[in-house]
Amino acid sequence: MADGELLIRNGVVYDPINGVNGEKKDICIRDGKVVESVTNPKVIDAEGRVVMPGGVDIHAHIAGGKVNAGRIMRPEDERKGVEPKTKVCRAQSGYSVPNTFATGYRYARMGYTFVMEAAMPPLAARHTHEEMVDIPILDNAAMPLIDNNWMTMEYVKSGDTDLLAAYIAWMIKATKGYGVKVVNPGGTEAWGWAKNCDLNDAVPYFDVTPAEIIKGLAEATEKFEMPHSIHVHGNMLGHPGNYEMTKDTYDVVKGIKPYRDRPTMHATHTQFHSYGGTTWGNFESKAGAIADYINKNDHVSIDLGSVILGDTTTMTADGPMEYSLYQITGRKWTNHDVELETGTGITPFLYSGKVSVHTIQWAIGQELALLVKDPWKIALTTDHPNAGPFIGYPIIISHLMSKKRRDESAESMHKAIFDRAELPSVDREYDLNEIAIITRGMAAKTLGLHEHGKGHLGVGADADVAIYDMSPEEKDAGKIQKAFLNTKYTIKAGEIVVKDGEVVAAPPGRTIFVTPECDDKLMDEMLVTLKDKFAKYYSVTFNNYPVQDAYLPNPYEIKAPWRSS
């Protein structure tokens, strides 16, 4: 429960959604919300310290079947992060795939209070929800995969956008999901036969192309007042030379009008999609070309997928990509294709600064952040745990804020960074306002969560606050990194959950879900086709499929009405 009234006094506040850029001001809190004034508050003295809204992560893999398959496959990773239980905290395990409890505590210690689980296989949605409920402190939501679904491809082929919209509505409701996730559209279905698809290849047996799937899903999504656009992991992730296809993917949704002032597509973990060259031998950064596209266009937002050096566990619904990666490394490999819907691949990976390709990948993520001019188009992510675990965010922040730090790192890495990447020649340094944008403001706005109290500190906002133990004048990259790893205070819904870097309370978070509202007649027509799929092809019944209310003990619903025109 919230601690009644709180007053955060004299902090230097960065609240970019409300245009507050490093102003010394007080934050008043009552009953879990930011208010105008308080009468008898507990006072937190934030004199001279950096104050931001709770962090919002737009894309991470923290809960569900593939995360847990990663844990089962990697006892060696679980051993890395063990911490005994305390009076407040449950026992912790894991580094790149931490257990659910550690996930909540570690995000909260970095000042984060909301995380979007980026890929929920619809048939296994109950699993994602079971784990999300076990992640303390954080509010979260999850995006169901709706792109390789047979229903989707059939409606895209027949051009029935309204019926596709009805299917999307049913799916998001049935999975208690947040929006439409796209992962290697068509390619994951093809992976059911050990094949893959380019953007313009026909999907085997379904006779549609990935480009048509993306366009159809974007059009169908915009039939509703959806808080978030389609969220796209495009085709050919991680392949040398894929940057042209990445730009072609962005072009697919150009001209589709979003329901409000947000992009029509969020393109995720863009680092993995900004590759030049034709082989791993002549692999090079094309972050500049991608940044140029983003600078010139407003219909696409991106997140970084920035690399953290070291060992991690890669996991995605992009089954063929994980297979390629496992073929390169020969390490462990788990695959889990999901009937009529999607797939899963998992394999461990070591990013080494001694390897040219990894070094260039490491540079690309940061180049994207520094070469895209408007930070409102970018969110900081590592596509946790794909490019590295979320616990590495402070490392990226310190690099973005310090050219000196970047130069020091580059010196110790493979020399390819000097001729096949741009990073060493980029002088830009982020300020704290820009950091606040890419770690909370942009993500909240792009997800539409700023209208539901996330990512800002205006009156009426959720009282989610991070107080970092650093002066706004701090230039030392090491000190910046340390401050962003463990807050002085994290406040969640008005309750102090972290103090001096230690978790002092671990209340349950909420599950946020969207309910797209669709005409009954349209829904009934769609259901005839869907029920036939269940009768003939699914291995569970139609009635046992939807996620029951029992899986969301602390629900928060956002309605998405059908747009009249």
Partner: protein, 434 residues
């Protein structure tokens, strides 16, 4: 009379969810369709533990839930190293309380996978698992391999719902369009249905997997004329079937996990699948036994990081199967009390391990009496999950399905019994701390 549809079976890892029953006067009077004979028998109900009971002078004395729960809490609270074992025939909600109880006590928690597909889990720890959901098999598979398993009798609906006999999108003709290979040491009801029955010598699974791997990787010249009792021609025939298939699926059972090289058999089975994947789409899946043994592995993993044999005595999870697995712990007499829930070590553990279990205080939580009841010191009857209590379970392909509550009961669900034990223990600790 009321007809209830979409009933989910809480018997084996198939978790069939399309069962139709008739209910009259709070009793299932008829199973109309969907269930196999074993599932049907469970749904229709049989002899239950009637009352909570505490053993006194060698005899079980009936008592109230309050008294039994208090006694159970006392035993666990006084224990220096308790073992909490079972967990596979109950729902994830109960399993989660089990993990919390384990943490609270600094206990060892192990589940029935330990004596079942534990070797499969160890193999997955080692190399991962290329797999898929059962609906994928139903819709795509044109080659099904059962290895060391007899689903006709152990998972009676498996072939019909999910594999050889089922009909799906690219398999509309059912078994007519498919091939089935069965590998076993003896003839069974399943081997009779096979297109190819590969009869291997007991304990020779590992070299037979190796021979197939060699052929699939283009090294048939190194394979001798006979491997594990199987002629080379038959190995070439099977490898050829793999190469010509579009989608092959291997299911394996206890015949592979508990013979010869044990978990190394499964590593090799997975490596065989990887080799097959160079020619076709190839997946592999353990045929899990209890309806939620996959679920307890899932819950333990997301809550502690590890799937079974978890020692919480350090305050964090320590995983070393072979040391903290239940049979080994008991064999070394390294625990001084045990709580057995939703399982029956009395019937399934090795004798040497049972000797110690019979000596220490044992709490049993179960709807049904079984050999473990014969030496349990506290017996707490539970509602039957899937009939009298709802909750989440994971099918053998890790697909979560919610069990339904069909009948009312006065028996407490597992989750509530465990929560009350935990509350009692915390109250005792608080009292002592005063």
């Amino acid at each position: 009379m009321v007809e209830v549809t979409d009933v989910v079976c809480s018997l084996c890892g198939c978790v069939c969810d399309d069962i139709v029953v008739e209910v009259e006067n709070n009793e299932i009077v008829k199973v109309k369709r969907g269930a196999c004979s074993v599932g049907k028998s469970k749904l229709l109900g049989h002899e239950r533990i009637k009352s909570p009971a505490i053993r006194e002078n060698g005899e079980l004395r009936e008592c109230s839930y309050d008294e039994a729960i208090k006694k159970a809490a006392e035993i666990l609270y006084k224990s220096r190293r308790p073992l909490l074992y079972g967990w596979s025939s109950t729902v994830c909600e109960a399993d989660k309380v089990g993990v919390e109880l384990t943490e609270d006590l600094g206990a060892v928690m192990d589940n029935t996978a330990s004596v079942c597909h534990g070797p499969s889990v160890l193999a997955i720890n080692d190399v991962g698992l290329p797999s898929c959901t059962l609906g994928e098999v139903k819709n795509r598979a044109d080659l099904v391999i059962y290895w060391g398993a007899n689903p006709s009798q152990a998972h009676a609906n498996h072939m019909k719902r999910y594999s050889y006999v089922s009909k799906g999108y690219w398999t509309a003709e059912g078994k007519k369009g498919k091939k089935m290979v069965v590998v076993d040491v003896r003839k069974t009801m399943t081997t009779k249905m096979a297109d190819v029955f590969v009869q291997i010598k007991q304990g020779y699974d590992y070299p037979v997997f190796s021979a197939l791997r060699a052929i699939l990787r283009g090294h048939e010249d190194v394979v001798p004329d006979e491997v594990g009792g199987v002629p080379k021609e038959q190995l070439l025939e099977v490898a050829n079937m793999v190469k010509e298939s579009k989608f092959m699926m291997t299911f394996f059972g206890m015949g592979v996990t508990h013979t010869g090289a044990r978990h190394n058999n499964i590593v090799n089975a997975i490596q065989f699948t990887r080799a097959a994947h160079l020619h076709t789409k190839a997946n592999i899946m353990p045929l899990r036994g209890h309806y939620n043994v996959a679920g307890i592995n899932q819950v333990c993993t997301w809550e502690t990081g590890f799937p079974f044999a978890i020692d919480m005595s350090r305050g964090y999870a320590w995983y070393n199967p072979g040391e903290q697995s239940a049979t080994d712990l008991l064999y070394r007499a390294d625990c001084d009390a045990a709580m057995i829930i939703a399982s029956d070590p009395g019937a399934h553990f090795p004798g040497e391990s049972l000797k110690h279990l019979a000596k220490i205080p044992v709490i049993q939580i179960d709807p049904y009496a079984n050999p473990t009841t014969e030496f349990a010191d506290v017996v707490i009857p539970a509602a039957v999950s899937g009939i009298e209590a709802e909750g989440n379970v994971y099918r053998m392909d890790n697909i979560p399905i919610r069990l339904r509550k069909i009948l009312d009961t006065d028996y407490l669900p597992d989750e509530e019994i465990l929560e009350r034990i935990l509350t009692e223990i915390r109250a005792m600790r608080e009292k002592e701390g005063e």
